[in-house]
């Protein structure tokens, strides 16, 4: 329930609010200090990598890291003025991972370049340089989003526009001829729109657009989805006709799997939807239905892959490799096996930045960046990295808990869980926990689309956390309550808790 303005002395009955209220300080200086620390770590990584690769640290090794620092400081300033109560941990955590990613990609460029050309590698050359440029652009976009959207509820006004755009983005690569939609000739996944040397991965953006729509749709429909039910085995199951939306999304996911041959994205969309549905309705039955549909779909895909092949064949092969990494060591299993060997070579402490041979792993700059980094920073480094990711996700969930409107809760919860699921799918795939499905590792993998989409996601979390942590009495003056930015009326009074009959 949204607390009415001016009632600061009487906390709203949402359990989380009192704790948040006490901590409701801006903490922007803490953010600045953490950010500088994060960039120091990235700079240390870049310097050590050069020391190991070139036997010397070049005079201008700090240029990429300092330009990153400058742009991160810029978004820090934007947040200081436009979202003063935003969570102070989000930007430093993301900056650390982003900085390490740029440093690692640049390190890959250095080891691939001829020894005599290494020192002359300019700031924006190679994969690392492009990643740096994309980061600058992504952060600018994220800042732009913060400037444009002053109240996260305003996003819901564009829900239908966004879902339309999202669906177009999802299906475009599937409809395009392979020439324009397949970047990697060795993989048959059709995930890209590639025109004249310029490539975007629309799925990364579609993810965000779909999530905004899910949140908007579920806030409106949650009453009927959660109330009308039949009891079976002590669990409330929804009525048959209310299963419509989940079936539709399931079918979309299957279509992605079949036409784009991309299990990871398909799993991501479906997981995203089921979890937001669960958060909205508080019904465990949705999770059960979701899991049954997912595993049913996976087993079916595996079975179809073993019998008719076709679009399911690649999934079947992936499962085979997962079950036995040594099964086809020089063929289909080469990449997965090399990833595992890289991780194993790193061991507990890793070889140190620049001292490993991550280039032994195919696609180490995209899907397998985690394995490449794991060889150099070891189990301890990767554990720390996982904790930083966990921090981002948990901070997002905290914002969801603390924010007072349903749309914000669903959006922040859904976005956080999306990051978690994506990480689980790709890291689990690389480290052999689950069958490998291609996904980018957020903020780490080389790729502009992924970076931009994930920075937009962070901007949304910043905006929501700002609303969550903002003291209620100062809410009205801080928000430039212009009429166009106001939330749609039907979301205004929506309750955040389910009213049980």
């Amino acid at each position: 329930m949204t607390a009415p303005p001016g009632s600061a002395s009487t906390p709203a009955p949402t359990g989380e609010l009192p704790r948040v209220r006490v901590a409701a300080r801006s903490r922007r200086n803490a953010e600045l200090a953490l950010l500088l620390l994060a960039m120091l770590v990235s700079a240390a990584y870049a310097a050590t990598a050069e020391a190991n690769l070139l036997d010397t640290v070049t005079f201008d090794f700090w240029v990429p890291i300092v330009s990153l620092t400058a742009v991160f400081l810029a978004i820090h300033v934007v947040v200081r003025f436009l979202a003063p109560y935003a969570d102070p941990v989000l930007i430093p955590a993301v900056a650390l991972i982003n900085g390490l990613g740029v440093a690692f990609l640049r390190r890959l460029d250095l080891s691939k370049a001829n020894p005599d050309e290494r020192a002359d590698l300019t700031m924006f050359s190679g994969t690392g340089g492009r990643q740096l440029a994309w980061t600058l652009l992504s952060v600018a976009l994220a800042a732009g989003l913060l400037v444009l959207i002053r109240d996260h509820r305003a996003i819901s006004r564009y829900a239908y526009t966004l879902v339309l755009a999202g669906i177009v983005l999802v299906i475009t690569p599937a409809l395009l001829p392979a020439k324009y939609s397949q970047v990697n000739p060795e993989s048959d996944a059709k995930l890209w729109i590639s025109v004249g040397g310029f490539t975007i991965q629309p799925g990364e953006f579609a993810k965000l657009a779909l999530l905004v729509f899910f949140a908007y749709y579920l806030v409106r429909k949650r009453e009927v989805l959660s109330l009308a039910s039949r009891r079976f085995l002590g669990i409330d199951f929804p009525r048959g006709r209310d299963l419509g939306p989940v079936i539709v999304v399931w079918l979309i996911s299957l279509a992605v799997l079949v036409f784009q041959k991309d299990l990871g994205t398909s799993l991501l969309y479906f997981g995203m939807f089921v979890v937001t549905l669960y958060i909205a309705t508080e019904r465990v039955s949705w999770l059960i239905i979701g899991l049954l549909l997912f595993f049913g779909g996976a087993v079916l895909a595996w079975y179809l892959g073993s019998t008719i092949g076709g679009p399911f064949a690649s999934f079947y092969t992936r499962v085979d490799i997962w079950l036995d990494p040594y099964g086809d060591p020089y063929g289909t299993g080469w990449q997965t096996l090399q990833g595992l060997l890289g991780l194993g070579t790193g061991g507990l402490f890793g070889t140190g930045p620049g001292a490993g041979q991550p280039t032994e792993i195919p696609e180490v700059h995209t899907d397998f960046v985690f394995a490449g980094l794991g060889e150099e920073i070891g189990l301890f480094g990767l554990s720390a990295l996982l904790v930083v990711y966990l921090l981002i996700i948990e901070r997002g969930l905290r914002a969801a808990l603390a924010v007072r409107d349903s749309f914000g809760k669903l959006l922040a919860g859904g976005l956080s869980f999306t990051v978690c699921l994506q990480l689980f799918v790709i890291i689990g795939g690389v480290s052999g926990l689950i069958p490998l499905t291609g996904q980018t590792t957020p903020f780490l993998s080389a790729g502009g689309s992924s970076l931009m989409a994930n920075w937009l996601l962070v901007a949304a979390l910043l905006r929501i956390s700002d609303a969550a942590r903002r003291p209620v009495d100062s809410a009205s003056p801080a928000r430039p309550g212009g009429a166009p930015a106001g939330p749609p009326p039907q979301l205004h009074g929506a309750t955040t808790e389910v009213i049980r009959p």
Binding site: P329, G344, G347, L379
Partner: protein, 501 residues
């Protein structure tokens, strides 16, 4: 909505927990397996990080490592090319290693347990010491003479082999297989080039990759008469004992009679044993063999080293290049009794008798060394990376004692008579007691006969200096005389290498 959000938080923790546990499994529990996996290209790079030790003989470096600028830091080079190829073997990047390079790999690479101390020292000093060095027993002058004389033999035979052994120790002085090959292209760091070079050699006419000295067996012809003579002397015969001979001999149940090489050889009904050997009297030895019986023949051959499946030439504790077992073959009828035609043929080294050139040299060496057969070896010494620490020095070991010293002396006299008065006059060296036995083996079909010579040289002090076996495959008539000439050249080279002593 907060309750499900908290539960989603728990799910996030569980998923990250799974990732963390799996990373521990991959990077800690399985780390060693992955780090040392055959599929891990880093193993190779690490192997080439350390300078491989030198293989040398008599002060001549035969295999060295030189630094390169490539990914693999050291390139193996064989300065003497094809002269030592079959004795050394080679150590390629991706193909199988062979010979001494294979059997002494751990020591040369510096990874053997013996060199543990050096590796620990490296940890503290930060140096990367080279691997250990191997000193071979080969006499460079004898090896080069053997190679040159075989390659330029006067019968223009393309295939053959030569082995020289120090009879009193078993140290191998020369080991040549013809045709030979240049191992350098095989160890090229460009693995595709190396692969192509290997394929070309493998398919080449005359099979240069075959080690005819150690790994191939051939019918020994009349050289086997030394074994038959030994069996006779062990069973009560004396060199002066008269045995039945004649221009032709038809064994019981045989379809074809055995004749002598030329009618002038032992046409009389009886000759002494020493005359029979001196003139290589086929009819005499065939009848002698039939009289002695298959069991005694086979037993004598076994005592000289036939049927030995275990012998390897390298270090004396058994590691080294495997030697093919020489065989006497079956000489029995299906019901288990002696088959006289087979026994008769086998007694003169035909039928199913097969012998390696090394075995031929061992027979001569045993006779020269008063009946004691020393275990042949190729590795004289293992020297540490510092070239002063001695990790192993060969201590000659007796392998077996097939005949008594008395019988050995009688065999020496008989074989000396062969070189003085008989078929082996080409082997004479003034000032030395040279004994030997020629062999001309029918190979069946349309091929020419093999030419053999086994022999020894004893100095004026009564000390055996060298025992040799020279084999010329499909040499035709006069092959054994040419083999005797080459043997003489090799023994002369050994004498010269020892400073004429």
């Amino acid at each position: 909505m907060n309750a499900p959000l908290r539960r989603v938080g728990v799910v996030v923790m569980v998923l990250f927990g799974l990732l963390f546990v799996n990373l521990n499994y991959v990077q800690a529990y399985k780390a060693d397996e992955y780090r040392n996996s055959d599929y891990n290209g880093r193993v190779q790079v690490a192997e080439y990080e350390r300078k491989r030790g030198i293989i040398e003989a008599g002060g001549t470096p035969l295999a060295t490592s030189k630094e390169t600028s490539g990914k693999l830091k050291f390139l193996r080079t064989y300065p003497k090319g094809e002269v030592y190829a079959h004795a050394l073997g080679y150590k390629p990047v991706n193909l199988a290693d062979t010979g001494i390079e294979k059997s002494e790999n751990d020591f040369l690479a510096g990874t053997s347990d013996q060199l543990f101390g050096d590796r620990v020292r490296d940890l503290f000093t930060g140096n990367q010491t080279a691997g250990g060095n191997i000193l071979l027993t080969l006499s460079p002058r004898a090896q080069e003479t053997a190679f040159r004389e075989l390659a330029n033999n006067r019968k223009d035979v393309p295939r053959g082999a030569a082995v020289a052994i120090d009879p009193s120790t078993g140290a191998i002085q020369a080991l040549v297989s013809m045709p030979s090959f240049d191992p350098n292209p095989l160890v090229d760091h460009d693995t595709e080039k190396a692969q192509a070079a290997y394929k070309q050699l493998d398919a080449a006419e005359n099979g240069p990759l075959k080690n005819r000295a150690l790994s191939e067996t051939f019918p020994p012809g009349s050289t086997f008469k030394v074994i038959t003579s030994a069996a006779a002397l062990e069973n009560g015969y004396e060199p002066e004992t008269r045995i039945p001979a004649g221009p032709a001999y038809l064994a019981p149940t045989a379809g074809q009679e055995i004749r002598n090489a030329v009618p002038s050889i032992c046409p009389q009904t009886q000759v002494t044993l020493i005359t029979a050997l001196t003139d290589s009297c086929n009819t005499g030895f065939a009848q002698l063999g039939v009289k002695l019986g298959a069991d005694k023949l086979k037993d004598e051959a076994r005592q000289f080293g036939f049927e030995d499946d275990e012998l390897a030439v390298g270090r004396l504790n058994g590691s080294g290049q495997k030697v093919a077992a020489s065989r006497t073959g079956e000489m029995a009828t299906p019901d288990g009794n002696d088959d006289p035609p087979s026994v008769a043929q086998s007694s003169i080294g035909q039928n199913n008798v097969r012998m390696t050139p090394l075995q031929g040299a061992l027979i001569a060496a045993t006779v020269a060394n008063d009946g004691r057969q020393m275990r042949p070896y190729l590795v004289q010494q293992q020297l540490g990376p510092d070239r002063t620490t001695d990790y192993y020095t060969a201590v000659p070991k007796e392998l077996r004692e097939p005949v008594s010293a008395e019988v050995a002396k009688q065999l020496q006299d008989m074989m000396v008579s062969v070189v003085q008065n008989g078929t082996g006059t080409n082997a004479r060296i003034s000032g030395y007691r040279v004994g030997g036995k020629t062999g001309t083996a029918e190979t069946g079909g349309n091929s020419d006969d093999h030419g053999w010579f086994i022999g020894f040289a004893i100095n004026s002090a009564g000390k055996p200096i060298s025992a040799v076996c020279v084999f010329l495959e499909d040499a035709g008539s006069g092959g054994s005389a040419e083999a005797a000439r080459i043997s003489q050249q090799i023994m002369r080279a050994v004498i010269a290498d020892r400073g004429g002593r």
